[in-house]
Each structure stands twice: as C-alpha cells, then as structure tokens.
C-alpha cells in the first residue's frame, strides 16, 4: 500500500476515514456471527445464514452505486466516470454469493426469495437516500467502508471459513473475489478523496456517512442471528 493522497485536505480526510475504519474493524469483531467466525466457532449453518443475509443487500448494492453515479452533475463528470466503473465491476457480485450458498448445501430458491434483514433494510435505505442527493460526495465514505470490508473478507475471513468448515475455494468465491480488484479500487478511492475532500464541510460529510454505513453494516451482521 502506498499513500497516493496528495492534498492536505485529502490527507486530513484519509486520517479520519482510517480512524473510522479502525473503530469499525473493532466493533465488527463483536457482532456475534463475526465473533464466531474469527474465534473458530463458525458452523455450516452460520456460513449459510451469512451468505443468505449478505446476498439480499449485495444484490441491491449496484443500485445505490449507479444512482450515486447519476446524481453527479456536470461539475463532477470525472467522479461520475469512476463511480460508473466501480458499479460495473460489482453489479453481478450477488451471483457469486448464490453460487457459494449452493456450494455449501443451500437451496438456490431459498436465497433468491429471501428478504432483506432489518439491518440490510436500513443500510440500503440510507445509501439510496444519500445517493439521490445532488453530488453525493459523502458516499466516498460508504465506499471506503465497503471496500475495506471486501479486503478483510478476502484477506482474513475466506481462509478462516475454509479452514473451519473444511471447504474448497469454490465455496468462498464472493469473499475471495473482493481481494482481486482491491488494489485498483483503493487507488481510485484515494484519487476520489483528493478530488472531493476539498474543504472541512466535505470531510465532515464523508466521515459522517462512513460512520453511519459502518454502524448499519454491523446492524446487518447482528441481524443475521435474528432471522
């Protein structure tokens, strides 16, 4: 990892985002399903439930990103292009989730017909709401959290799950795949931070959205045990 954020306000923003990430990372480990995963007590059923719940939000994920792209006006045409690219990279991620679910013995009809859990509803609702505002620069904060999580899944969770459940790599495609585009996405995020975090107001908005998304993501994971 190299620091590609060059402007002073970009660096201030990145510092806040890193802090939000670290706090999120700690809080994440306290969500019961994550605790079981990280402490070697995950069951097959847990992993199925996790995939089932994640899929309902991920399938909607490309909606907020594409809406976010379309909400950037002519002043932000360059940002819009980057966000479109991002949406394109991820709009079919849910297919991998479904295939993982089937690989661990889940029924395709079940995962395709389940509804969002309470946390996913809140997360999706918030993201769609923010994405509908004109020039939603604060959503860089949301991308930061979700991108960071993808990295964590690819670099830590996938291996832990395979080991505990004695699963082949074919059953953790969704988590593993997120590692592949990471380097590229991170570079783009750094660029975006420099581009949009130009004043204190923007930095605060980005930080706040990152915090809200972090909290709602954890709610989504907490709710996995309540479905």
């Amino acid at each position: 990892m190299t620091a590609d954020v060059l402007t002073t306000s970009g660096q201030t923003c990145l510092q806040s985002l890193l802090k939000v990430w670290f706090d999120f990372d700690l809080a994440l480990s306290k969500a019961p399903i994550v605790k079981r995963l990280e402490q070697g007590r995950l069951s097959h059923e847990d992993y199925q439930k996790l995939l089932l719940n994640l899929r309902q939000q991920v399938i909607e994920g490309s909606r907020w990103i594409t809406r976010c792209a379309s909400s950037f006006n002519r002043e932000y045409a360059d940002v819009r292009s980057i966000v479109i690219g991002h949406a394109k990279d991820e709009h079919k991620d849910f297919l991998m989730l479904e295939s993982d679910y089937v690989a661990v013995g889940g029924d395709i009809n079940v995962i395709q017909n389940s509804s969002k859990n309470i946390g996913s509803e809140a997360l999706h609702g918030f993201l769609m709401y923010r994405a509908s505002q004109e020039n939603p620069v604060d959503l860089i904060g949301a991308m930061w959290i979700i991108e960071g999580l993808g990295n964590k899944m690819a670099s830590k969770w996938a291996e832990l799950i395979e080991e505990q459940l004695e699963l082949p790599k074919e059953a953790t495609q969704f988590m593993r795949y997120h590692g592949e585009n990471d380097e590229h996405h991170l570079e783009e995020l750094y660029k975006l931070v420099d581009r949009v975090a130009v004043d204190d107001g923007a930095i605060k908005a980005i930080e706040r959205t990152a915090k809200v998304v972090a909290r709602l993501y954890i709610l989504q994971l907490e709710e996995v045990d309540h479905v």
């Binding site: 510092q15 890193l18 802090k19 990372d25 306290k30």
Partner: protein
C-alpha cells in the same frame, strides 16, 4: 504537579549472543537444528541478545536479581539513595515464583524498606502499566518518587528440554516462533516530583493505553495447549499439562498483524484528541518485536499522512534483543546515554502488546 524521569538504568545478563550461538545456549530440540530459526531471525532483524541461562541451560541470575541490578544502576546515577525510595513499581511477564508478586521479590533483592508496592503483570506493555501507576501516584502526591523496574527472563521457557516433554515431540510453528524472538534483561526508571538537580530530565506529559481484549482472541500465551482453551491448572498433574504442551510460550502468528492496526488506531485517536502534533515529535521510541512490524507500522502511518521521518526513529532492538516489557526501559536508557538532547525536544514512546492486544503510548519532553 509534574512528574519527571530523572535517572535510568539497565542490566543485560552475560555476553551478547549472536545468531549462530543461540542454539548453543538454548540447546537443540531432540538433537536437531531448527529449520525455522533462520527465517524468523531474518524477519525480526535481531543480531545479538543476552541470556540469563548458560550452555547447560542453568540459570545464572534470577529475574528478581536482574531487576534489582537494573534498579541499583538507575539509583547510582541519581541524586537519591535507595532508602529514600517511596514507591516501587515493577513489571514482568513471569517472575521467579508464581506467588508472591514479583514486586515483593524485587524489593527484598534491593533491600529497601517500607515502600508502597505495585506489581504489574502482563506482557510487553506491563512495564507501561507499572510506569503509569507510579506516574499517577506521584501526580496525586501520594509519593515524591518511585522506582519503576521491568525485567524479563524468557529463556527459561526456551530450553530444549521444555519442548522435548511435549507428547509426540513435534513443535508447531506457533510454539517455536518466540524462541527466536525473545531474550533476557531488565530496565529501570526513577520518577520524581522535581526535575533533576543537574543535567537533563524527561518530563512525562502523558501516558495513555488502549486495550482490545474484548475484541481479539488470545495471541500470545503460556498456559493452554494448542487448539484448546483448557488452563494448565485444570490438568490432574503439572506433568500432564507439560506433556500436553500447555506450558509452552505460544504466539498465534496469524493474529499478529492486528497489532499494526491496533497501534496505528490508538496513534490516530490521540492525534485527533489533540494530545500531540506529528511535526513536533523529535524522537520515536517504539517497542516493536521485529523489523518486519516496524515497516508495517511506518507504511500505515504513511497511508494516514502522518509519517514520521526515518531518522527520528530510535531502537536498540537489533543489538539488545526483544526483552518484552523491559525493552522500552532498556531502549530509553541507552537512548539517553548516547544522544545529545536539547531542552524542549520531545519523545513519543509506543509499546504495542500482542498478548491480547493492548497498546500504550507516552509523550516526554526534555527539561532542565
């Protein structure tokens, strides 16, 4: 009320031992040379260290004796005599005895009377906990001075015979890892409510620590076997505990990189709380266990845009070894003895502990 570090001292047992000699001291496990040793030493970058055991793995000096030696050297360089010490605050990860507390043993060894005693138990950051107790005690005007000592005798755990007791005689990576990381030594600091009469003192501006044991699993431990949570005390006999490998010092290396984000997280928190400013730091003394982790920390500080130039980092890890909780005091002592400091210069100290993830920070200013 300010608190000052007015004197320091350290004690390292025996001669420096280089990488080729380590197994002459610790012994060959099952008569065979280690296949991991080279790789781990290459990653941690340590060139020499000291051991309190000899080539027959016999203890040459106890942990409390090393602690007392460091304490006396510290007092020798100060303006007060041992009988004036009001508080003794000590740290170790493993004393010579399970009970009583290490502090009692060190006090007896020092032969000082009627001190207020504090024993801090833990791993690398326990010295900072001992220091914080002493610092707050003086700040609250409960004592006018305190002798703080941290001492470690890890080599006892690394004797070849310890590994040979384990059933199956196979040593797993996690149990062998620390054999090539840790060594012995002690460091001491004298704290007073007034600056030193002549020469320079270090004013303690603040000490803060953040522990994350609620989030992370155990990463470094003695007392449980591989892949089990049973305590060594739950076995019918101690010999069965040893056979099960419950008494080996283990490091879950897969969890280890969490220490980097834990360390940088606290750094950013203190920064955002306005406890210090990065450009105003003149020297960084960070206890890291290996060159590998230092580079990770530096990298992450760079990402956060709060990098501290390489020439401000000081360490003596590579020559003195990783002496656990004693490291930061041994580092401070050598730093003060070898650097020409000016009034107003600042030191930022950081001690991350991987035991179950605690990280301590301290800010010091040079005063006259």
């Amino acid at each position: 009320m300010s608190v000052y570090i007015n004197s320091t001292g350290h004690y390292l047992p025996g001669p420096p031992i280089d990488n080729d000699e380590i197994e002459n001291i610790l012994g060959l496990v099952n008569g065979k040379k280690s296949r991991l040793k080279h790789k781990i030493l290459q990653s941690n970058g340590i060139k020499t260290r000291h051991y309190a055991i000899n080539q027959q793995q016999e203890t040459q000096i106890s942990n409390s004796e090393m602690a007392a030696n460091a304490g006396l050297r510290c007092l020798d360089a100060s303006y007060i005599s041992p009988h004036q010490i009001e508080m003794l605050s000590v740290a170790t990860s493993q004393g010579d005895l399970v009970l009583p507390g290490f502090g009692s043993m060190v006090q007896a060894e020092l032969d000082i009377s009627s001190v207020e005693l504090q024993t801090s138990h833990g791993i690398c950051s326990s010295s900072m906990m001992a220091l914080k107790s002493a610092y707050t005690n003086i700040k609250a005007q409960e004592s006018a001075n305190a002798l703080v000592i941290a001492s470690e005798l890890a080599s006892r755990l690394f004797k070849h015979t310890r590994y040979e007791q384990v059933e199956g005689k196979e040593i797993d990576f996690n149990a062998e890892f620390l054999r090539w990381m840790l060594s012995d030594g002690a460091g001491a600091l004298l704290l007073e409510s007034q600056p030193r009469k002549t020469g320079k003192s270090l004013r303690i501006d603040w000490i803060k620590s953040f522990s994350h044991a609620d989030v992370y699993p155990v990463c470094m431990s003695v007392g449980m076997p591989k892949n089990a949570t049973k305590s060594w005390q739950d076995f019918p006999t101690y010999s069965e505990a040893e056979q099960a490998g419950a008494l080996l010092l283990r490091q879950d290396v897969r969890l280890l990189d969490n220490i980097v984000s834990v360390g940088v997280n606290g750094f950013l928190k203190l920064l955002q709380d306005g406890m210090f400013k990065v450009p105003e730091i003149d020297h960084v003394l960070c206890h890291f266990s290996s060159a590998y982790f230092k580079s990770k920390i530096v990298e992450m500080l760079e990402v956060a845009g709060v990098q501290i130039p390489e020439d401000k980092w000081y360490t003596n890890l590579y020559e003195r070894g990783n002496t656990g909780c004693a490291s930061i005091f041994i580092m401070l002592d050598e730093f003060l003895a070898t650097q020409d400091l000016s009034v107003g210069e600042t030191l930022f100290c950081m001690v991350p502990e991987s035991g179950r993830f605690n990280c301590a920070y301290m800010h010091l200013t040079v005063v006259e």
